[in-house]
Symmetry: C2
Subunit: 220 residues, 2 copies
DNA sequence: AAATCAAGTTTCAGATTTGTAACTTTGACG
DNA sequence: CGTCAAAGTTACAAATCTGAAACTTGATTT
C-alpha cells in the first residue's frame, strides 16, 4: 500500500484529503505539527507527498528545495491562487506536479496515480521496504550491507517488485528473461530464482519471495 | 532541446502555440496534413505531443489509444469540452494530462514541464534520441537492432545520459563505477568507454560519446 | 619536428555469470 | 500415508565480463 504524506494546514481540507486517499486505497499520513515539517518530511518514509505551498510561517518553495537536496520522493504541490502559478513556474522548485485548489477529487487521484506510476520506475533509487534498489548498478542495499545482483536476478526482482503482492507467473518471468525463439531449459528459471533468494537471504530476507505452486511467485 | 509535436487544426491556435513553445525554449513541430496523423505520430520522434481531441474526420481518443499500443511518448490532450467525464476519459485513454481550451499559456507551459519531468524519470524505457534504453535488461535498441551492455558500460552510459550535453569527468565516472577503496587501473575506464563506444557504433552512433581531453566525456 | 602525455585499442588470464543435468525437496491429492 | 509432478538445489562446463599490461594514436607543448 502506498503511503502519502499530507502537509496542509487547513484542518477541513486535510481531513477531506485523508478520507479521499484512504477510500482510494492509499495510506494517508497527515502532518499536524508545522514547527518541524522539514524534519518530518526527511525522517518518515512516504511514497508521495502532497505539499501545500502556503503554510503558516513556512516558505513552501524553500522547504521543497531543501528537501530535494537529500530526497527524491515525488511531491505534488497544492496551490490555492492562480497567481501563484507564475511563482511556481519561475522557480526551479523540484515538484513533480501541482494541483490548484479547489481541486476535483477525481483529477487529484488521477494525478497521484500518474506520478506514482512514473516514479515507481525511477532507475536511480527504488525501494523495497527498507532495501535500496539500484537498477543500473544491479545492487540491493540494506542496513549498509550490499548484494550485487546479476542481470537475470535483477530482471526477476524488478518484475516482482513492479507487481509487489501480486502473483507473477513463471511464464511471465520467462518472457521477461528470454526471447521467445531462444530455447531455455524450464529449470533455468528455478535456478535463477534460487540464486536471487540466496542473495535476499544474505540481506536478512529469506522469505521475501513466496512460491505459489502451479501459479507463480509473489514478492511480499 | 525538447521537441514538441502540435496536432491542432485551427491555424491561428496552432501558430500561437508554436510561438509560445519556441519562446519557452522548446522545438515545436506542427502537423499540418491530417490525412495521416497516425503515421506522423509514430514515425517522427518527439519528446511530447499536444493533441487536439477534436480533429476534423479523426477521433482523437481512438487515435491516442492506437498510438499507445506502440509508443510511450507523453501526450497532453487539448480539449474544448469541459465536463469532468471527458477529462477523466482522456486520461484513461492513455493521455498524460489534458488542457481545456481556451487555455492559459502559463498553465500550459507548467503542465508541459511537469509531464516532461515525470516522463524523464521513467527507468523502464528511457530514450536517447531514437535509442531505447532499458536499464534493467542493460540493453540499447535502435531500429530493431539491439546491443546488450555490461554492467560497467550501462553505468557509464547512464551517467552520461543523466547529464546529456554536459561534460562528465573521468573522476566522476570512476566514482560511479568503483568504490573508493578498491584500486583500479586508471586505464580500465578507457577500456570500458572504448567497449561502450564499440556497441554504440554497432547501432550506427560511432560519435555519440565525445572526448574532451583533460576534461572528460560528453554524450551528444 | 621532437617530446610528452592523455586517451584509445588489443590481447590475455582470472573472475563471474549462465544454462544444463542430475538429484533432492515439497506439497497436493488420492 | 504414498505417489507424483512442480519447484529447489548443487555441481559443472561454456560463455561472458573484467582489469591489467603493452602498445598505438593523436594532440599539445617546446
Amino acid at each position: 500500500m502506498k503511503r502519502i504524506m499530507i502537509i496542509e494546514d487547513e484542518t477541513t481540507l486535510r481531513d477531506e484529503l485523508s478520507i479521499l486517499l484512504k477510500n482510494a486505497g492509499y495510506e494517508p499520513v497527515a502532518v499536524t505539527d508545522y514547527s518541524n515539517v522539514s524534519e518530518q518530511m526527511k525522517s518518515s518514509y512516504s511514497d508521495l507527498i502532497l505539499l501545500d505551498i502556503n503554510l503558516p510561517n513556512v516558505n513552501g518553495e524553500t522547504l521543497l528545495q531543501d528537501f530535494r537536496k537529500s530526497n527524491d520522493t515525488p511531491v505534488i504541490m497544492l496551490t490555492s491562487r492562480t497567481t501563484e502559478i507564475d511563482e511556481v513556474l519561475s522557480m526551479s522548485y523540484g515538484a513533480d506536479d501541482y494541483i490548484t485548489k479547489p481541486y476535483n477529487p477525481t483529477i487529484l487521484l488521477l494525478r497521484i496515480s500518474a506520478v506514482l506510476k512514473r516514479s515507481a520506475k525511477v532507475g536511480a533509487v527504488q525501494k523495497y521496504h527498507d532495501v535500496e534498489v539500484s537498477t543500473v548498478k544491479g545492487s540491493l542495499t540494506r542496513n549498509g550491507s550490499e548484494q550485487i545482483l546479476t542481470k537475470n536476478e535483477m530482471i526477476i526482482f524488478q518484475q516482482l517488485l513492479d507487481r509487489q503482492g501480486e502473483i507473477v507467473t513463471r511464464d511471465e518471468l520467462m518472457t521477461a528473461l528470454w526471447d521467445n525463439d531462444e530455447f531455455v531449459n524450464d529449470n533455468a528459471l528455478s535456478v535463477n530464482v534460487s540464486r536471487l533468494r540466496g542473495k535476499l537471504a544474505e540481506l536478512g530476507l529469506p522469505e521475501a519471495i513466496e512460491t505459489r505452486k502451479k501459479q507463480g511467485y509473489v514478492l511480499k
